[in-house]
Amino acid sequence: MTGVRSFLPGEQPGMLVSPVLGAEPHRGAEDLAGYLAVGGYAPLTVRDRLLDRIAAVGLRGRGGAGFPAAVKIRAVLDAPGRPVVVANGEEGEPGSVKDRWLLRHRPHLILDGLRLAAAMTGAERGFVYLSDTRAEQAVRHALAERPTHVPVGVVRTDHTYVAGEETAVVRRIEGGPALPTAKPPRPYEAGIGGAPTLVANVETLARIAVMRACPDAAVAVAGAHLVTVSGSGDSAAVLAEVPAGTHLKVLADLCGHGRAEAVLLGGLSGGLHGAGWTDLLLDHDHARAAGGTLGCGALHFLHPEDCPVAVAAGAAAHLAAQSARQCGVCVSGTGALAGTLTAVARGEADDAAADRLRRWSRQLPGRGACGLLDAAARIAATLLAHFPGRVDAHRDATCAACADPALLDARRFTVPVP
């Protein structure tokens, strides 16, 4: 069973362990009385200057892109028309559980964040967007008992890799399929019904609500991250909250992955990182400087017995299977990447396979309507950059790890929601 642990310093307000939930976070779900008792749903006044404070502490969005939250909110505020706000709780990364955990256990915190987003943007209606049944029950229960505010609808989607992408969110809420559309326009310009639309990840909204309740701790709250840590070996996966600047190596040790030799960052989106990964700090800028992305904070550690080629082939195969099949270049590109990586894993690739992978990983990023193709390209690029010897070795000898067909799909990355 997936564990739930807070690694925050003693007094820092967090999301997993709180006065509302007590010491057993994964058993509890907050109710209105408990949430009001810790200052929830307090009226927002001009003197709070909440948007300025969000900008000042540099809060980044937690859906994956890490875009500055205040810039996105201001863009919605400045666009013509009456805005709409959306709490996006659909996490498509199989290795991430944080958003579903928050919806199931902290629905009032998210609804409070959504209320504050509505107040900051002047929105008159909002939506909670999700796929998880238990999350939906918790949110509907919380909506029924919360203080009256802007009307909030609950929109359910199927659980797919791309369903949480912001244009897919807008399309689904409008009654269409949960599939991305071409940008521009982005939802902040023209989203639901053409209105400027703030699509905010539920952790982002939760952090805004905690920052409002605990203004003195705003810097620490904005810098902390919810992460989902998984890997091979006997250690169960962990949903953890970590302070800003946490060393990846320290986190791996704390979660039972002290033997790890590599890490797959950002769910399936941030690439494989071998030598040097132990120096990485857990934030968006450091991950980007290392050629990866922190994404939604899902981290999958590889132990010495794991084969990075098998991990890459499995990740690419999942992405190819999850392509929305709208963009021809994505269908062809992810299919070619996954097929070639699987051939490499099985020792069936020709001499030019590595060159083809290298070329595709340069030519394909940025060409799909969403980031799925970029994720698959980054898997191949980082495998070749960090593990060229391991790739070559598959031409000469059968790899025991790659011989197991169960390792060439996404099962190893999937983490159960605690």
Binding site: A182, P184, V329, R367, G368, A369
Partner: protein
């Protein structure tokens, strides 16, 4: 001006490259790849021809 490709609409007809090979290439599967997204003023004519050539309206030129 920006030359934008909606990759959900590109069906790989390949007709866009003919008037504007300096702006658009076709990949090994035949799908269009915009080489120069910020089109200089002197390239506007060929960019408009490329936009008009697509049977599925996958290309747009935005001021």
């Amino acid at each position: 001006m920006k030359l934008l490709l909606d990759s959900t609409r590109c069906q790989g007809y390949g007709l866009c490259r003919e008037p504007a090979p300096e702006l658009i290439d076709l990949d090994e599967w035949g799908y269009a790849q915009v080489l120069v997204s910020h089109v200089p003023a002197e390239g506007a004519g060929v960019a408009e021809e490329a936009v008009a050539a697509c049977p599925n309206s996958a290309l747009r030129l935005v001021k």
